[in-house]
Amino acid sequence: MITIDSISKTYGKAVVLNVETITIPKGQSFGLVGNNGAGKTTLFNILLDLIRPTTGKITNNNVEVNTSEDWKNFTGSFIDESFLIGYLTLEEYFEFIGDLRGMNKADVATFIAKFDVFFNDEIIGKKKYLRDLSKGNQKKAGIAAALMGNPQVVVLDEPFANLDPTTQIRLKKILKELTDSKDITLLVSSHDLSHVTEVCDRIVVLDKGIVVKDIETSAATLKELESYFSA
C-alpha cells in the first residue's frame, strides 16, 4: 500500500505539485494522467526519493521513502533513459540489475527468456550498447529491467511512449497479467488515455500539480477523460 500524504513541491514561488491525500491499496493498478507540466514525473520522482518534497511524505508498504531505503528492495521503476547504463549491452545491464536484486545468472537468463516476445528479437544478442539502441528499444529494456526480481511495486513513467504498436499491445498484456493476481501494485503515467483506461483500475488526473479527478475505471471512463481533456 502506498500513501501519499499532503505532498507538495515548490521551486521558488512556482508550485509544481500539491497533492492532498492519495491512498493506493496493494494490488491496484493506478494510472496517472495529465498534460505536460501536470506534475506526473515529479510525483513519481518523489515516490522514488529522487527529489525531496517541500512538504508531506510518501509511505511505500509502511516505509517512509525519504527516511529509510528499504522500499528499494520491493520497488522496480523506470522513469526515462537515464535509468539505463549506456555503455552496457542489454544482457550486461540485466545482469547488473539482477545482481542488485539478488538474482543469479540462471534467474536472469530465465527472466530474459520470458521477455523474448516482448523484445521481438530486436535487442537480445545484438552486440549493441544500450546507448546505440533506438528510443523504443531502450524503453523496452528499461521497462523489463523494472520488473526484475519480483517487485511488489512497479513504477513506470510513460511506458507506452515511443513504443511501436505491436509492443504497446504486448506491454498492455504484460501489465494486466502483472496485476491479475492483485499482489503487485502498479503505477503508470501516460498521455494516451485509451492505454491507461485499458490497463488501470483507477485513474487520477493531475492538472498543474493538483488532483482534479480520481476515477474508478469503468466503461464510461474513457469518454469522461476525453471530454475533460477536450474542454
Binding site: 522514488l48 526519493d49 529522487l50 527529489i51 525531496r52 531505503e69 528499494k72 528492495n73 520497488t75 521503476s77 522513469i79 537515464s82 535509468f83 539505463l84 547504463i85 549506456g86 555503455y87 552496457l88 549491452t89 544482457e91 550486461e92 545482469e95 547488473f96 540489475i97 545482481d99 542488485l100 536484486r101 552486440k127 549493441k128 550498447y129 546507448r131 546505440d132
Partner: protein
C-alpha cells in the same frame, strides 16, 4: 543569416547550464587565458629589445623569423591535441531552410575566431608595432604581420584537415620525422631557410599574398571535406561501434563488489574519455623520467616527491577526481536501486588501489635511478593508496557537474569545476610540504617515512573514513541527482 547564427551562439554561451553555476572555474579559466595573453603580450613587447641586448650585432626580426617554423609546428601539434571542429551542434539546422553551404561556412568561419587564433596576435601585433617604432619599413612590417595572421589561420584549417583525415595526419607525421632527422643530423637548415623566406617577405611585402593563397586553398579543402559530410550518418553523428563483450567472470571473487567492479571496468573501457584517462595513467609512469634526469631538480627533493606521486598516481588522480560524475548519466537509476552505497564507493576505491599497485609494480625500473628515488616512489605509492584514494572519494561528493561519457577524451574539461582545482592542494602540496619539512629539519629519511606513514595511517582508518564518506554522499544525494540531470 550569419547574424542569426551569432545570436544563437550568444544565447548558447550565456544560457548553458554551466555558465551561472561555476563562476569559480570561469574565473580560473579566465585567469589562465589572461595569463597566456599576458605572456604573449609580454613577449611581443619585450622580445625586440631583449634580442637587441643579447645579440647586438644581429637583426631581431631575422632572429624571430629563424624560429617561426618551430612556433608554427608547435602550434599545430598543440591544436591537434586540443582543438576540435565544432560540428555536432549544427544538427538542428539541417532540416531548416538554410543552405548547407552556409552552415559549413559558418562552422568554418566561427573556428577562425577561436582562442587558439587570437592568442598569437598578442605576440605578433605588439612586435610589429615595435618594429615600426624602431624604423623598420612600414609596408614590410605590415606585410610580415599580415602573413603571420594568415599563417595562424592556415594552421587552424590545416589542423581540421589532419584531425578528420588519417592520410593527412600520416603525411604530416612523416614530414615531422623528416624534419626532426634533418635537425638531428644537421643535414639541412630548414628553420633557417624558412626564416630567410620570412625575411624576403619583409623586403618584398607583396609576397605575403602567398599566405592568402595558402589560406584560401586550405579553407576550400576544409569546405569540400565538411560539405560532403553534413549528413546525420557522417560528421554530424557518432559512430556506432559493435559491443566488445569480454568475459569478466573473474571479478566474481570480489563478492558483493563484483557487479560494481564489472561495471567500472566496462565504464572505463567502453567510453572514450575514461579510456583516455586509463591509458594516460601509464604515460604518467614516465613523468619521473623528466624530473629525475633534469639537473635543475636534482637537489630539489620536494619537486622529486611531486614527480614520484605522479608516477604511481596517474590513474587515482585523473579518475578519482571525477567520481561519481562518471556515473552521472545513470545516477538516478543507481539511486533507485537497492544496494548499500558503501559497495558503490568501495568498488571505486578498490579500482584506484588496484591500479596504483599495478603502476607501482611497473615503476620498478626506476631503481636504476637509485634507492632514494625508488623510496620516494614507494612512499608516493603508499600515500596514493592510503590517503589520496580516500580523499578523492570524499572530494567527489562535491562534484556537481555532469559528464557525458560519449564526448571525446583529450582536452575535454566537462565535469571540471573549482573542486578539481581545490583538491590538488591536499593531494599534492600536502605531501610535498611534509616531505620538505621533515627532510629539511629532521633528515635521515624521515621525509619518506612521514609521507608513507600518513598513507598507512589513512589505510588503517579506512573503515572509519568510509563511514564518513558514505554519510556525506547520502546527504548530498538530491543535489547530485539534480545536478547530474542537467546538460552541461
Amino acid at each position: 543569416m550569419i547574424s542569426h547564427f551569432l545570436k544563437l551562439e550568444w544565447k548558447q554561451f550565456f544560457r548553458s547550464a554551466a555558465f551561472g553555476k561555476s563562476i569559480g572555474i570561469k574565473i580560473l579559466m579566465g585567469f589562465f587565458g589572461l595569463y597566456l595573453i599576458a605572456m604573449f603580450l609580454f613577449m611581443g613587447i619585450g622580445v625586440f629589445y631583449g634580442l637587441k641586448k643579447f645579440f647586438p650585432e644581429q637583426d631581431p626580426l631575422v632572429l624571430v623569423n629563424a624560429f617561426l617554423l618551430y612556433a608554427i609546428i608547435g602550434d599545430l601539434i598543440f591544436r591537434y591535441l586540443m582543438q576540435q571542429l565544432p560540428v555536432m551542434h549544427i544538427q538542428p539546422f539541417l532540416t531548416l531552410p538554410i543552405h548547407k553551404n552556409n552552415i559549413v561556412h559558418y562552422v568554418l568561419l566561427k573556428s577562425s575566431f577561436s582562442f587558439f587564433n587570437v592568442m598569437g596576435l598578442f605576440f605578433y601585433i605588439p612586435f610589429s608595432l615595435f618594429l615600426i617604432k624602431e624604423g623598420y619599413a612600414v609596408p614590410g612590417v605590415l606585410g610580415w604581420c599580415a602573413l603571420m595572421i594568415l599563417l595562424i589561420q592556415s594552421v587552424n584549417f590545416l589542423n581540421f584537415l589532419i584531425n578528420k583525415n588519417k592520410t593527412a595526419f600520416g603525411v604530416l607525421f612523416v614530414l615531422l620525422i623528416g624534419f626532426f632527422v634533418t635537425q638531428q643530423y644537421q643535414l639541412f637548415d630548414l628553420p633557417g631557410t624558412f626564416g630567410k623566406g620570412f625575411d624576403f617577405v619583409y623586403r618584398d611585402p607583396i609576397y605575403s599574398l602567398l599566405g592568402l593563397v595558402l589560406l584560401l586553398v586550405l579553407y576550400q579543402l576544409n569546405f569540400k571535406q565538411l560539405r560532403s559530410l553534413v549528413y546525420l550518418d557522417e560528421a554530424v553523428s557518432q559512430k556506432v561501434k559493435e559491443a566488445n563483450t569480454a568475459d569478466l567472470s573473474w571479478t566474481e571473487k570480489f563478492g558483493d563488489l563484483a557487479p560494481f567492479i564489472k561495471n567500472e571496468i566496462r565504464l572505463i573501457w567502453r567510453n572514450k574519455r575514461t579510456k583516455t584517462v586509463f591509458l594516460m595513467s601509464f604515460l604518467f609512469l614516465f613523468y619521473g623520467l623528466i624530473f629525475y634526469t633534469m639537473d635543475a631538480y636534482k637537489d630539489s627533493l620536494p619537486m622529486l616527491m611531486f614527480a614520484s606521486l605522479f608516477v604511481t598516481g596517474g590513474f587515482t588522480l585523473n579518475y578519482g577526481q571525477f567520481i561519481p560524475a562518471w556515473d552521472s548519466a545513470h545516477y538516478k537509476m543507481l539511486m533507485s536501486q537497492s544496494f548499500r552505497y558503501r559497495k558503490f564507493l568501495e568498488s571505486k576505491w578498490f579500482l584506484m588501489v588496484a591500479m596504483t599497485t599495478l603502476l607501482y609494480i611497473l615503476s620498478f625500473p626506476y631503481l636504476y635511478f637509485g634507492t632514494d628515488i625508488f623510496l620516494m616512489i614507494t612512499a608516493g605509492a603508499i600515500f596514493n593508496i592510503g590517503f589520496n584514494s580516500l580523499f578523492l572519494l570524499y572530494a567527489g561528493s562535491y562534484n556537481r557537474k555532469r559528464i557525458d561519457l560519449t564526448k571525446g577524451g583529450l582536452g575535454n574539461t566537462q565535469g571540471t569545476s573549482a573542486t578539481q582545482f581545490l583538491i590538488i592542494i591536499p593531494l599534492m602540496l600536502f605531501p610535498m610540504l611534509l616531505f620538505w619539512f621533515f627532510d629539511k629539519f629532521i633528515g635521515y629519511n624521515s621525509g619518506f617515512v612521514v609521507v608513507a606513514a600518513i598513507g598507512i595511517l589513512s589505510l588503517l582508518l579506512k573503515n572509519y573514513a568510509m563511514n564518513f564518506i558514505e554519510k556525506k554522499y547520502i546527504k548530498d544525494k538530491y543535489a547530485m541527482i539534480n545536478a547530474f540531470g542537467k546538460e552541461s
